[in-house]
């Protein structure tokens, strides 16, 4: 074996080893979640790697809402959906309109808006929890999903504007100019040229905004109180305060809760592939 060939073999062994470690590192927690969800409560902390008597019991409890902390699970799932979808829609609407206005309508000093928006990330989200709580309290919005939606939109929009602007820069201006010459209004340019070409960025940011609000805990528990308005993460948090946490129900509920964003992500993934602008100026 030549030295070059030996080096190549060592390289590929290294790559395989590293990949194997990363794969185990990534999949082990997921495996553990699944393992716990199909075990009975007494077995959960057993040291066995595989479930001793696997059973779908915990999932049945979640679906039928027969455990007291999960009595309104589907209602809370609906709340999470409502908040997540609304946040995603608002972030996309505000972000895309803003980026279009700044970059395509060439608003004066628009760059300042983009930079100012990004500055909001200098302050960590958790630092603003109390001021937000105060504001929402003054407007009588505590215990109202609108409060959580407002917060999430506030935090997701600057990033959306930034990404849309960066992505929008790759869309040739000639397309706008051609449309204008053909008599298109700014709104027509926005809806017929800009938005379709921004589809990959829209899907990416929409997924980001959805996941941000889907997984939100701090603001959800701070701003929402009653069992009927809270979201699933807040309910799952309630499992961890008793002296006896039913981990199998918790994990089963977590898996059920993780399915919708996964479906949404994989459903739209194809749209995220770049290259939609390729050849857009031809012909």
């Amino acid at each position: 074996m030549t030295a070059q060939r030996r080096a190549r073999v060592i390289d590929s062994i290294g790559v395989w080893l590293l990949s194997a470690v990363l794969l185990v590192w990534t999949l082990l927690p997921i495996y553990n979640i699944i393992r716990v969800s199909i075990q009975e409560k007494e077995e959960v902390l057993s040291t066995s790697v595989f479930p001793i008597a696997p059973s779908p019991h915990a999932f049945s409890v979640v679906f039928r809402q027969t455990f007291w902390l999960l009595e309104t699970f589907w209602n809370q799932m609906g709340n999470s959906f409502f908040i997540g979808i609304t946040v995603a829609f608002l972030v996309l609407a505000i972000g895309s309109l803003t980026s279009f206005t700044i970059s395509r309508m060439r608003i004066r000093s628009g760059w300042m808006l983009t930079n100012a928006a990004l500055l909001t990330y200098v302050i960590p989200m958790s630092f603003l929890a109390i001021p937000f709580y105060g504001i929402m309290g003054k407007y009588g919005l505590t215990n109202n999903p609108i409060a959580v939606i407002a917060v999430e939109v506030t935090f997701a929009t600057p990033y959306a504007i930034f990404i849309f602007q960066q992505y929008g820069a790759s869309i040739p201006f000639e397309l706008d100019e051609a449309a204008r010459i053909d008599g298109a209004s700014p709104l027509q340019v926005f809806f017929r040229i800009y938005l379709p070409l921004m589809a990959p960025a829209l899907v990416a940011i929409g997924t980001y905004a959805l996941l941000l609000s889907w997984n939100e805990y701090l603001y959800a528990f701070l701003l929402l109180s009653g069992g009927k308005v809270i979201t699933v993460p807040v309910t799952l948090g309630k499992f961890l305060v008793g002296d006896e946490a039913p981990w199998n129900y918790l994990m089963a509920a977590a898996i059920v809760y993780a399915i919708p964003p996964l479906l949404i992500y994989y459903g739209f993934r194809r749209k995220m592939h770049g290259g939609l602008t390729m050849g857009g100026v031809k012909g």
Binding site: K41, E42, P131, K238, V241
Partner: protein, 459 residues
């Protein structure tokens, strides 16, 4: 199509924003109507516990024609949310918090953020135990007075849960458990050795040692008292940590908790256990015994008679090494009225009704005796609490009500609440187990920080 200019677009957007704002009612308004009560209540461990609160409040609502907006949430969330509410001046009318006596209430009283509830406490003063009253009597630095700023609601003290089948597996019986502090806990190291010799990977001791939540602090402080450190803060609020007896007790406590860990008699994960994890490790039979803040381990198995009556043993705090009884450190969960409550009178009325012995008893029974009454008469008048057939409840009542108890030191000085919030003693344990400090060094470092905290709370 009409051409949209930039100006037109901006004007349109502003108009739309204003319309949405008006349409959704996003204008400043009062958060709730007068005559209503907003109550935040710490979630129980069992459904029946929550149901008891809900049923009683519904009944009170009817009797008093006052609507109660009750929110039940988990313990840490109640405290976080209340702190946020106090900061911005939007607070509920009544709050029941289980760990608030340790992490929030004494400092809130010091800062004049709580209503004086002396009239409520006075309505049942003769009924409350002395420790309950001491725990609820706090200092208000603004008004420069001691008063009752919390209504004692329920109590708990450290218990020891033991697996009898594991003892038997090691060749012992329940009567082999020694009765004094060091011998009692060392016994489980012997049990572990015996079990290991049979090839069983089980740990003898389930000590909670994480610098988070409450269990590690509960364990440390009960040990501190057992080794003679009860005077760490004097009743007049003065810190007494330089007292040689207290220093020695702190050093011994740290040694006695960390040495078994270092020798492998405590699960390695115990340095990261939340309050629930020692229970789970116990149920998984990873540990032979665990000290716990209540009898919740046994209570959770009440519907499994074999486990509850035969396999799980509850022991109280062992006698001191000198054979004398050691007082239990009794935590008292308070119910408070935050300053800024919109309906103080109704809040007081609600609390006065809640602490009627019959009401309090009905609620506490639904906790399956995880929590103890703060009134001796409840135990005296209801055989439930002293049922000789129950192997756990009696022990808890004995430790928390019959035998001597001492209050947590925050009632003497709220600085100790900051000591607990900062997890100074569990941190000292970590300094020994993770950073190889000696118990003396870890005690001195803890004492230094505790002194700094006490300087912030000078009367």
């Amino acid at each position: 199509m009409k051409r949209i200019t930039r100006r037109r677009a901006l004007v349109g957007a502003s108009a739309a924003g204003a319309a949405v704002t008006a349409g959704t009612g996003l204008t400043p308004r009062r958060a709730r109507a007068a005559g209503e009560l907003t109550v935040w209540w710490t979630q129980g461990f069992y459904k029946a516990e929550n149901d008891a609160v809900i049923a009683w409040m519904a009944d009170w609502e009817k009797r008093n024609n006052t609507k109660v907006n009750l929110t039940i949430m988990n313990g840490p969330d109640v405290i976080t949310k209340l702190i946020a509410g106090m900061q911005v001046g939007d607070v509920p009318d009544v709050v029941h918090t289980v760990t608030g006596d340790r992490f929030l209430v004494p400092r809130a009283a010091w800062n004049d953020q709580l209503e004086d509830v002396s009239d409520v406490v006075e309505s049942q003063k003769a009924e409350f135990t002395e420790t309950a009253l001491i725990s609820a009597r706090l200092y208000n630095a603004k008004q420069k007075k001691y008063s009752y700023y919390g209504v004692p609601t329920k109590a708990s003290s450290l218990m020891n849960s033991v697996w009898l089948p594991l003892l038997e597996d090691a060749g012992f019986s329940a009567t082999d458990m020694p009765g004094t502090q060091d011998k009692f806990y060392d016994f489980f190291q012997t049990v572990q050795d015996k079990l290991r010799s049979k090839g069983k990977r089980i740990f003898g001791l389930g000590y909670s040692m994480a610098a988070k939540e409450a269990d590690a602090g509960n364990l440390f402080h009960q040990f501190l008292v057992s080794y003679g450190g009860v005077g760490i803060v004097m009743p007049d609020g003065k810190l007494n940590i330089d007292d040689p007896a207290v220093r020695k007790a702190a050093i011994t406590t740290l040694e006695r908790l960390t040495t078994p860990f270092k020798k492998g008699y405590v699960p390695p994960g115990a340095i990261n256990w939340g309050d629930v994890d020692n229970n789970n490790a116990f149920f998984a039979k990873q540990i032979v015994m665990t000290p716990n803040a209540t009898i919740s381990i046994a209570a959770a198995q009440m519907d499994k008679p074999d486990l509850y009556y035969k396999e799980i043993i509850t022991r109280g705090v062992p006698l001191g090494n000198d054979g004398k009884p050691v007082p239990s450190v009794l935590a008292i969960a308070p119910t408070i009225i935050p300053k800024g409550s919109k309906n103080v009178d109704a809040a007081r009325a609600l609390l006065r009704d809640f602490i009627q012995p019959a009401n309090l008893n009905a609620y506490l029974k639904e906790t399956r005796a995880r929590y103890l009454p703060v009134m001796a008469s409840i135990v005296k008048n209801d055989p439930y609490w002293t049922d000789p057939k129950d192997p756990h409840r009696q022990v808890a009542v004995d430790m928390g009500l019959t035998k001597p108890t001492v209050p947590w030191w925050m009632s003497y000085n709220p600085a100790y609440s900051a000591v607990l919030s900062e997890q100074i003693w569990p941190q000292a344990e970590a300094n020994i187990t993770q950073r190889n400090m000696t118990a003396e060094q870890a005690t001195d470092e803890a004492a230094k920080r505790i002194k700094q905290l006490f300087e912030q709370y000078q009367k």
